[in-house]
């Protein structure tokens, strides 16, 4: 990395940033602040103008809350872990190929061009009881009826949802990590090999520690996304337990307008948890990297 001498200027950078800051300030920060106000029960349209914490209390003491929280965590921890491990492995493999692989160009386009809902459709075609895998298992004689195939969609185990996330996130992580790994491999990896390190040692002592920041930021993005995502669990999740975003949304669209503050409370909780987890994760990995290097 070539070091950069940063220029100092009192007003120019702010001018250059102003359009982006205006949009994010007005609509992003604005949206979060309004959600926060509404979560405190400030809702002039339906005559609620007093600030109160009762909605927070109501959500946190509800038995649905722990169920939803646990379910959200389960889905996003499992899918992030598995996609990170596979993604890093694949990145390492592709970075190690001597000739440039066409596959990487393909991998580059999948995560970008295929939206989550299309990924969902494809995984349903694969793993549902009417899917290809169930048909294959039936043809091979392991089961005689489609409904003997374990139910992975609309089920509590949420395996279908997790598979959708894995399918979608593996190429994303591979790509983010690949760029960095290819560089390290080319420079430091070769040096270490020349100095007599084994391939295994190069991987664990050179490549992995140096690409940790890239792995970290890739998996943080994936983790935060799957924690706050609404579409897939809404379409293919079990009726109980629900994930936090789905629970928030169902409260939001309820005809009873007094449920709106509840929806806001849940979405504030999702926001705060996402920020805390990302912060914890980043802090702990920073420590790890400093220790290893």
């Amino acid at each position: 990395m070539r070091s950069l001498i940063l220029k100092k200027s009192t007003w120019l950078p702010y001018l250059m940033l102003s359009p982006v800051l205006f949009i994010l300030g007005a609509f992003f920060i604005g949206g979060i602040l309004l959600a926060f106000l509404q979560s405190l029960g400030y809702f002039p349209i339906i005559g609620l103008e007093k600030f109160t914490l009762i909605y927070y209390k109501e959500v946190i003491t509800s038995p649905d809350f722990m169920a939803a929280l646990g379910h959200s965590f389960y889905i996003c921890v499992v899918s992030t872990l598995i996609s990170t491990v596979i993604g890093v492995y694949l990145a390492y493999y592709i970075a190690g190929l001597s000739h440039k692989n066409k596959g990487i160009d393909f991998l580059y386009k999948i995560p970008i061009a295929v939206p989550h809902i299309v990924a969902a459709l494809m995984i349903v075609f694969m793993v549902s009881q009417g899917g290809i895998i169930a048909r294959l298992v039936m043809k091979m004689g392991f089961i005689s009826e489609p409904n003997q195939f374990p139910s992975l969609i609309y089920s509590k185990n949420a395996i279908g949802i997790i598979l959708i996330y894995i399918w979608k996130e593996v190429p994303f992580i591979t790509l983010m990590v690949y760029t960095v790994m290819a560089n390290i491999q080319k420079n430091l990896g070769e040096v270490a090999l020349t100095l007599g390190a084994s391939k295994r040692q190069v991987f664990y002592h050179v490549i992995l520690p140096l690409s940790t920041p890239a792995i970290m930021s890739a998996s943080v993005i994936v983790f935060a996304y799957s924690f706050g995502a609404f579409e897939i669990p809404y379409l293919l999740g079990a009726t109980y337990p629900r994930t936090l975003p789905v629970w928030a949304y169902l409260n939001y669209i309820s005809p009873d307008l007094t449920n709106r503050p509840i929806a806001m409370v849940i979405s504030m909780i999702i926001t705060v948890l996402a920020i805390i987890m990302v912060w914890l994760y980043t802090a702990s990995l920073k420590k790890l990297v400093r220790y290893k290097l």
């Binding site: 982006v20 992003f28 299309v118 996402a274």
Partner: protein
């Protein structure tokens, strides 16, 4: 190494097989339960979509113009922003950086539900403009991020060279910066376009059913309904994305594409 290869190829094929199944479904006429292959192929799904009065054409047009506009605005305002963060030191920089990356972490559900009422109040709800503005909050983190890395990698020396040669602001942009940001523009437009193109929740909430994009048409098909039509719709979706990416790449024509680097 042999085992590695087998393992990687397995992952690779697991990633592609669903595509093949999707394509098969889109050309299916009848596919009886329990059979591994369709018993009869046909164009039912494609005919449904290509019918002139189907909602698909209209939603495709809305989607393309919405995401096209989002991409254009997002990229234009991200270039100076990325440069400011990469090349300048200023008070409150880390705060600005955090704000810019925050929308990647904070779920859109909180932002969308929070701002919905004020959008209704100011007439932005149920409108193209409202949806466009809310899409920008989601795409900007990605495009600014890309240009930060582009400008960091390029450094300031080219710009200084230009200054030394007394090139004015426009000349420096046209003959120096433009060439430095080209690869960023290619990946940036692909990424931003697709983040906006595949956005369901915010379009649905803020657009209130008035701004119908392709994901809104596709959504109900995922868990129920006609698999054949759903597959054809999905393929139209992916093809339009790929088509846009190729067009963008050709327009910006980055001849020595730095394919080693995928700015994400």
């Amino acid at each position: 190494m042999r085992l590695n290869k087998i393992f990687s190829l397995t992952i690779f094929y697991l990633l592609i097989t669903p595509f093949i199944v999707l394509i098969l479904w889109s050309f299916t006429q009848t596919w009886p339960a329990g059979e591994l292959l369709p018993s009869e192929f046909g164009f039912r799904g494609w005919r449904y979509i290509l019918e002139p009065h189907s909602k698909v054409w209209h939603s495709l047009l809305v989607s393309l113009s919405l995401s096209g506009a989002v991409t254009l605005i997002s990229l234009i305002i991200s270039i100076p922003a990325g440069k400011a963060i990469a090349h300048y030191d200023f008070v409150g920089k880390s705060l600005v950086e955090t704000l810019i990356l925050a929308p990647i972490i904070v779920p859109p559900i909180a932002v969308g539900m929070g701002i919905h009422l004020s959008f209704i109040k100011y007439g932005l709800a149920d409108s193209f403009l409202g949806v466009l503005l809310i899409h920008l909050t989601v795409t900007l983190p990605y495009s600014v991020r890309i240009f930060i890395s582009v400008f960091k990698a390029a450094g300031t020396k080219w710009d200084e060279q230009g200054r030394t040669l007394k090139a004015n602001w426009w000349a420096r942009f046209r003959y120096i910066t433009w060439y430095l940001i080209k690869p960023g523009l290619v990946t940036g437009s692909a990424l931003v376009f697709n983040v906006s193109f595949s956005q369901y929740f915010l379009t649905f909430l803020i657009g209130g059913g008035k701004v119908i994009t392709l994901p809104l048409i596709l959504f109900p098909f995922i868990n129920s309904g006609d698999r054949v039509i759903a597959s054809s719709l999905s393929l139209i979706f992916i093809l339009s994305s790929l088509f846009f990416m190729i067009i963008a790449e050709k327009c910006i024509e980055d001849n020595q594409r730095q394919s080693e680097f995928y700015y994400l």
